[in-house]
């Protein structure tokens, strides 16, 4: 019994190393000086630590700094678009629709429709989205990308929140209807506040998915802030294409900057994230 547990612990440590090593490697590459990056015998524990990969005045990447610091205009776009699509997807579309589907429109086809929206791959819709966004003249704008990102945030929110709403005891809403609240007031004054954890799950998951999205941003945006809406994954991909063999330190530093927000959320919002990811699969 005890022996088995030690074996399990050992396995868990190995899994943890597999999970963390690539991240560790990126972080130390970002902190290394070039002479310690390009070595035939890799340096696992760097001696000299530098922040120059994050910021060195004068070095350029395209028109901006070659170091990670130059990613700021892209970061700003990412933050705005991820927030907009997370909040609109949750509050304006997902929550009311989920409430309607659990309480008023009990048609199995509506649920299937939401599932279908989640299942169609991005690549299959990128062409019509491109055509539509060009047509309405929103190419390379915050609103253009936000509208398209709603195609995954809205159905995911609806799906997640349906689970939360259907777990609510109906009697509280019935009490409210006897107390004299209208159906819409019951929705936003009674039911919504009761699923606050679900709202959090929805916002966080939407934010991460939007922050990490690549294909739509690649096609629908092409310049950084302030002239356009290009997001930070695009900064990174251009950086990779140009600097693949050279500025590894700067690349790694940029990578670190991109993953910092989501990793912090990953650590601090453990409860919400796990619930979000496993929802729909695991019914308690």
């Amino acid at each position: 019994m005890k022996k088995l547990n030690i074996l399990l612990l050992l396995l868990l440590i190995i899994f943890s190393l597999i999970s963390l090593f690539p991240i560790y490697w990126t972080i130390i590459t970002a902190l290394k000086v070039n002479s310690e990056i390009f070595t035939t015998v890799p340096i696992f524990f760097p001696v000299k630590i530098t922040l120059s990969n994050f910021y060195t005045p004068g070095q350029t990447f395209g028109a901006v700094s070659q170091t990670a610091f130059g990613s700021f205009p892209w970061l700003l776009n990412s933050a705005v678009i991820a927030l907009l699509s997370a909040l609109i997807g949750t509050f304006l579309i997902g929550a009311p629709a989920a409430y309607a589907l659990t309480r008023y429109l009990k048609n199995v086809w509506l649920g299937r429709t939401v599932l279908l929206m989640m299942m169609i791959p991005e690549a299959a819709l990128i062409i019509p989205f491109y055509i539509i966004i060009i047509k309405v003249n929103l190419i390379n704008t915050w609103w253009g990308l936000t509208l398209v990102y709603l195609s995954f945030t809205a159905p995911l929110s609806t799906w997640l929140l349906m689970g939360f709403f259907s777990d609510l005891p109906r009697s509280v809403e019935e009490a409210a209807s006897i107390d004299g609240l209208s159906a819409y007031k019951i929705f936003y004054k009674i039911a919504m506040p009761m699923i606050m954890p679900g709202i959090m799950v929805s916002i966080i998951l939407n934010f991460i998915n939007s922050w990490n999205e690549f294909l739509y941003a690649l096609v629908l945006t092409y310049t950084p802030f302030p002239t356009g809406a290009q997001t930070v994954p695009l900064f990174l991909s251009d950086f990779i294409v140009i600097e693949k063999s050279f500025a590894w330190g700067g690349l790694a530093a940029a990578g670190v900057i991109v993953i910092i927000p989501t990793i912090i959320i990953g650590i601090y919002a453990q409860k919400y994230l796990v619930k979000g990811w496993t929802m729909g699969a695991v019914k308690e």
């Binding site: 490697w25 690549a123 922050w211 990953g266």
Partner: protein
């Protein structure tokens, strides 16, 4: 409140979603049909589908997609299952910490995954080749490029399968195990007769969600190999992108998109027919007797 009123309130609340659905799903699919069944001159034509039937790149893309799909499912399910069983069986402190460490890759942007694996798989300076003591051109080799992408992608999505199965294992009531131990079942029997039947619904749902996630794959191919070497890592999503935005043939790309949607649709339909996944997802509910 009668049915009519209820339906009205429901439709009003759901209207943002329904409007969005019309503009960003129904209309796009209509556009796909319009583009797929016309030529560049704008008149009705089946030429895209005729070309599709004899397009060698499409065939190799389909083959690669299948390869990538099966490989990914195998890697992600075996990895996720193993990790979930190990963490679930482990009886010590820090269980939640281990769970967190194991899911962290899931929060990371695919573009950064690409970057990380570029650094790690580099034949000259990467730590993997150093540990293996031979420089291997992982992404430049016809035979290794796809497995490398599958592994890199697996590193990110094994945690997803792990989390779902782990949650499923945790949700099995303890009394079942207590009853099994009183009944004298050994570990293997307990796993066979208690654990597996309890988590079957979760495995089916995990498979569905995970499959869809895998088919979304694009970024790693785009950044790591750009489809190469040769066409060895062309997968359907990447090919659609290439046709539309590198060869600028939106019509043929639309036809390919329809093919992609059709394949996914057939897959999901098969899942619905062959498994009780809808019931597991809570889409179909048994009508509970209401007093």
């Amino acid at each position: 409140m009668n049915r009519k009123q209820a339906t009205k309130i429901g439709l009003i609340l759901a209207s943002p979603l329904l409007i969005y659905f019309l503009i960003f799903f129904i209309y796009p699919i209509f556009l796909l049909f319009r583009y797929a069944f016309t030529n560049t001159a704008g008149s009705f034509s089946l030429s895209n589908f005729v070309y599709m039937s004899k397009d060698p790149i499409l065939y190799s893309s389909l083959y690669n997609t299948l390869y990538y799909f099966i490989g990914s499912v195998a890697v992600q399910f075996s990895g996720g299952f193993l990790a979930a069983i190990v963490l679930n069986s482990y009886t010590g402190r820090l269980k939640n910490t281990f769970r967190m460490i194991l899911y962290i890759p899931l929060t990371i942007s695919p573009i950064v995954i690409a970057l990380i694996w570029l650094l790690i798989f580099n034949p000259t300076y990467g730590p993997i080749d150093y540990i293996l003591r031979t420089p291997i051109n992982w992404l430049g080799s016809l035979n290794l490029a796809m497995p490398t992408i599958i592994v890199a992608n697996g590193w990110e999505y094994i945690p997803f399968v792990f989390l779902i199965i782990y949650a499923g294992l945790q949700a099995v009531p303890k009394q079942y195990y207590e009853a099994a131990s009183i009944d004298g079942m050994n570990r293997l029997q307990t796993f066979r007769y208690i654990t597996m039947p309890s988590i079957t619904p979760i495995l089916v749902v995990a498979f569905l969600l995970n499959s869809i996630g895998i088919l979304q794959g694009f970024t790693l191919v785009y950044v790591l190999t750009n489809g190469g070497p040769g066409f060895s890592t062309y997968i359907l999503s990447f090919y659609i992108y290439k046709v539309a935005f590198a060869y600028f043939n939106l019509h043929y790309a639309a036809a390919l998109s329809l093919l992609f949607i059709f394949i996914i649709g057939a897959f999901v339909y098969a899942m619905l027919k062959l498994t009780s996944v809808e019931r597991y997802l809570g889409l179909k509910r048994e009508n509970a007797g209401d007093e």
